[in-house]
Point group: C2
Chain length 339, copies 2
DNA sequence: CTGAAAGCGCTAACAT
DNA sequence: ATGTTAGCGCTTTCAG
């Protein structure tokens, strides 16, 4: 059916071992140029495709990497995936993508399944600040790189957005528009993105000279629209002067906030300005269009994959360096001057 | 490092062959209950994970399927992927996802790469009406199922939206609102989705008793926003009475149409109503929110994967049946009564 | 420079 | 019920 190495060798009148060497660029120099040529010709004529399972069994490599994401339906992740694959494909690697739905148990099971498949490395977009999968990976010294989310201890290389800077830029943007009462709807605190933005917010508020009592925070337990709506309802129900601006910890929360404001008959940005993070697709087209930060998703995946590829190919464990990518502020309709 | 079958066998005091039978549910009945128990205990204690490359080499199965999509960034596809994985995971299969960008050459290269990896089967969301990859798959009798797009010759099982019915429902919806001049912006005609909707449009216009001269069509060469904007500009530039409604062949084209109308200072739906297909995420949140058809994306992936799983597991080639999934009309702001 | 031989870890036919 | 054996297709020493 499918041509095997032995078939090629036989047709070329050489030993399989020789054919193998001729076919493999690294070992090609050990074989006479003429033999190489003949083997290559036969191989293409027979449409020979090496069986990567057999090769992997022998070389202890699967030419496969595991890519764990929370949920591919979250539009944040597909661009990262594409960035990763742009590096992987040319390197002869393929990605096995799994969705954990932010469930640690499911995550560990899927990780085990990927380990069974002898993945050569991992890219994790799923890290909790304290992550059992990451611990396991580090213990077993498996090549792996984090994207978008960090762990508390910097044990693996990572590529993330520069979130502290984003928060600073956000507050600066709002202050410049005259806002003094700015609320923050924080993300889950077991995720670095939620935690870092939350603490950056506290710090920046202080250093900007804003009154903390005017800048309330609410912590959500999920990064979705409903959580955003719930949070804004809570915010509006609490006593005291209402905020004039709300910084939500990501775009989905911000969308939920917009829903909540509409329900409360408040208009955005006239009554309250709203900001998000990440600039997922369509944020320029919703109503009002959302002011947010353009996380370079494709680049993030690309850079992470580059680090992983080098690690796998050279076999040398890199320093657990964190690459912080700048995220430009994108001003749209949802933020405006304070009334 | 990692425990192997031989390790388990030795620790349990049995032969590797016996351990293999004990571990494998299908062959477990050939081994004494007590032995099974002992082997299983040792296996879990040693955290034994079968090497799927070795198993695959032996069984000539990779427990992997190839999933070809045009572009994961198109929000139509991630939900389909999740539907597919819901079936695959429990069946012990993983998906290798590749993006073809609708490039036939790239598609064939990626297909070859997946064949090298000995994929047990394929799910194709990339089919052209005349598709070389599909031809190759059929020739080689590889299990495969189409999703969302059909080939002209029904050679493989497929799961798609019921597009003729959608077009009928669309025209009915518009006619009920008083529209008599309805234009169609068709998708690429080398794709079944573009072709079927285009021809259904022609037919339905006729059977609805509308004048063909009042119902112009423009064929786009891509399914994206820019193509939609270009098409609507062309439409508005052509002589004669303007249409009061535009049926775009998918949501991305419809978004482009909305852009084009805004540029032309026409308002939707007051001046012109607009409809799309598929109901990709955020269509309820753009402005104006889009009337479209809710393609059951998750179910589509699920059903296709079910067919593929059965094919792979039983080894019996199914009839190339086409499953047409109903797509409910979702009425939103972009369609309204004719002025 | 090429051939011979071994073996990666597993399963499946066969033998006991 | 268990053990024996062979071999999937490839790479990689080691001889020649």
């Amino acid at each position: 059916m499918v041509a095997t190495l032995a078939d090629v060798a036989e047709a070329a009148g050489v030993h399989p071992g020789t054919a193998s060497k001729a076919l493999n660029p690294e070992s090609r120099h050990l074989v006479a140029a003429e033999t190489v040529k003949r083997v290559l010709e036969i191989a293409t004529k027979l449409n020979y495709q090496p069986n990567s399972l057999a090769r992997g069994l022998r070389t202890k490599r699967s030419y496969t990497i595991g890519f764990m994401v929370p949920d591919l339906n979250n539009p944040l992740f597909p661009p990262i995936v594409r960035g990763v694959e742009e590096v992987l494909g040319p390197a002869g690697l393929s990605a096995l993508i799994v969705n954990t739905d932010n469930d640690p148990k499911k995550g560990m099971q899927l990780f085990d399944a990927l380990v069974n498949r002898r993945c050569d490395g991992f890219i994790l977009a799923t890290a909790f600040r304290n992550d059992p999968v990451v611990k396991e990976i580090v213990k077993r010294k498996i090549p792996a790189v984090l994207v978008n989310r960090l762990t508390e201890a910097p044990t693996l290389p990572a590529v993330v957005g520069d979130e502290s800077r984003e928060v600073r830029d956000a507050i600066e943007h709002l202050v410049r528009l005259g806002h003094k009462r700015i609320a923050h709807i924080a993300g889950p605190q077991n995720l670095s993105t939620g935690y870092i933005r939350f603490h950056a917010f506290k710090n920046v508020i202080q250093s900007a000279g804003l009154k903390e009592s005017n800048c309330p925070t609410i912590v959500s337990t999920a990064y979705n629209e409903i959580a955003g709506t719930d949070a804004v309802k809570k915010l509006l129900a609490s006593p005291g002067a209402k905020p004039t601006a709300i910084l939500a910890a990501n775009d989905q929360l911000a969308i939920g906030v917009l829903d909540g404001l509409k329900e409360a008959k408040l208009s955005c940005p006239e009554d309250i300005s709203v900001m998000g993070f990440n600039d997922i697709p369509m944020m320029a087209r919703i109503h009002p269009s959302l002011t947010t930060f353009a996380l370079p998703k494709h680049e993030m995946g690309f850079k992470a994959a580059e680090i992983l590829r080098a690690w796998i190919e050279t076999g040398t464990t890199p320093e657990p360096t964190i690459v912080y990518l700048p995220c430009p502020l994108v001003v749209r309709e949802s933020t405006g001057p304070v009334a």
